[in-house]
Symmetry: C2
Subunit: 337 residues, 2 copies
């Protein structure tokens, strides 16, 4: 403790001197950062360094000095002063009581974050990017373009459903693959198509899903498939609460949420779905609620809340192409895993 | 219209053939993507391409094919197939009715987004990064470290206050700079210090702030200063609703929000402020409410909502150092402006 105090006073002296030196080099009209007498200033600075939680105020003082130092015209002066500043900063940050301490990282979370891949992961881990998005934010377009740019697989709800149905067919060996294919296409494309299932099918479903509701069964089947795939390949997955499923199964991934201001999304929906303003608005409100409910039901978390994802993007700021570029740049250092 | 339909059918034929070719190369147990008869499949595909909003389903079909194509072992086969896929994709995206259309970018927003700097801005524009953050997320530490890494200025509330007070002193020429300096240090460091102001000061304040409340006056003074600085230098500014102020004044910038899960922030506050769990929790709840109220009062927007920022970061996923690295990588292409 005594040692720490001594170190703080020594650093305070050096900071005070640096301020004088910067002022002499730059001669700012705003005057020096420390304008009281030397003894008082040094004592105040040393107190800041040795007492929490005031340590962060020291950062402001240092920033004031370095902001000014960066305006020094003479390159030799500037480089000499900045060198001193860097040295002081490093020592201040290593003090146990100053602003340098108090890491925010959540080890469990960081351990699962693939964008730290190079340092922390084995080369058997795959690059898995989970993308959540609000309707109308072009999140799907960004995900698809990103998969294409990274040359990795892309999975959305339609693909999941199709893959699962095919796997089921293989397992059941009841119906012919070709027939099922046609049926999928009919179900998918002819939205009005209403298949009469009757009780026989309902009972069959109950058996098949071990008593779960069909929705829950689909969710758990998709989750299983997701975890299985995650062990075999790199991919991008849209929605499906994939971020939470992978986290719960301790599988490294990156979670990204893509959104855009409400009005911007309304206008995109109007254009893409050919709706008037009022209908587009209503559709969007409904879809946002549905998304929120689904995510909360399966994860207990608030959908779209920045603290639940690694990164959130505003697609209205970047557009589709630039969003892909930025995500690529972020991942850049890890692409050679 | 007739032309578009013809083009869609031609593309549908090519997609159907590509699926056959991929299946022949890879022989997946899941079978081909299109399992119905040729005529029906091609018609369905062409319909998808020519009718909105079903266009996005086509993306899933294409993804299924390319997901499979990427597993082709023979390099020549793979490169031939992927070339065909890329060509088809480009043509599909250029169709007026398929998923390629419907940009999400908000031109006004994008015009002000400095991370698009290289393409869109004059070289007189400065790199200004506005960082909002929730208490306990280490947002200030990240901002400060980022400013240091980028070698640009750093402004937080303490620095703003100090710069403004000094400018005021210059303007008023009432008190001696040295005295004020001491006073600032006293006010800042000795939090308990209670200066007796009396009516004379209150009246002086009323005059000085043109009848605004002191808080409003400070806010507007800071806003003025911010806009003035933005024309002169690169910098990072913490809080102050700087993102909205700059947007309203049509000044390019990047807005970033940094947060972390509540529990993680509580633990950081416990450590940094030396508080027990209950007190840390209460402090954080209070500060979050205060932040929210302040931001909403001056901007009308919801503080911390991902759609109000360009990018949100979860500091619990990355920690301080890695957050700085990622932001640097994102900005990378623009650093030589």
């Amino acid at each position: 403790m005594q040692d720490n105090r001594k170190k703080c006073i020594e650093l305070a002296e050096r900071i005070y001197d640096l301020d004088i030196e910067v002022y002499e080099c730059v001669g700012s009209s705003l005057g020096r950062t420390f304008t009281g007498d030397r003894r008082t200033c040094v004592e105040n600075l040393a107190n800041l360094m040795s007492t929490r939680p005031q340590g962060h105020l020291l950062r402001s003082e240092l920033a004031l000095i370095s902001n000014m130092a960066r305006t020094i015209r003479n390159p030799q002066d500037k480089s000499r002063v900045m060198k001193k500043y860097d040295d002081i900063l490093k020592e201040v940050e290593s003090l146990p009581t100053s602003f340098g301490q108090g890491e925010i990282v959540d080890q469990n979370r960081a351990k699962l974050n693939t964008s730290n891949l190079r340092q922390k992961f084995s080369k058997d881990d795959h690059l898995i990017i989970c993308i959540g998005r609000s309707q109308g934010s072009a999140g799907n377009d960004i995900g698809f373009a990103l998969a294409d740019a990274l040359r990795i697989n892309y999975y959305d709800v339609e693909i999941f459903t199709e893959v699962l149905r095919r796997l089921e067919v293989e397992k059941d060996s009841i119906r012919d693959v070709a027939d099922l294919g046609t049926e999928i296409i009919q179900n998918k494309y002819q939205r009005g198509f209403n298949s009469v299932k009757g009780w026989r099918n309902k009972i069959k479903e109950f058996d098949r899903y071990h008593g779960l509701t069909k929705e829950d069964a689909i969710f758990f089947n998709q989750s299983d498939l997701l975890c299985k795939m995650a062990k075999e390949e790199d991919f991008i997955v849209m929605g499906r609460c994939a971020d939470v499923i992978l986290a719960n199964n301790h599988i490294p991934h990156i979670s990204i949420f893509i959104t855009a201001p409400f009005e911007q999304r309304v206008h995109r929906i109007m254009e893409v779905n050919n709706l008037d303003y009022k209908r587009a608005r209503r559709l969007l409100e409904k879809q946002d609620r549905r998304h929120e409910k689904y995510y909360h039901y399966y994860t207990g978390l608030k959908w779209g809340d920045a603290m639940n994802y690694d990164i959130c993007f505003n697609s209205a700021s970047y557009g589709i192409e630039e969003s892909v570029d930025i995500i690529e740049r972020m991942l850049n250092q890890n692409m050679n895993h």
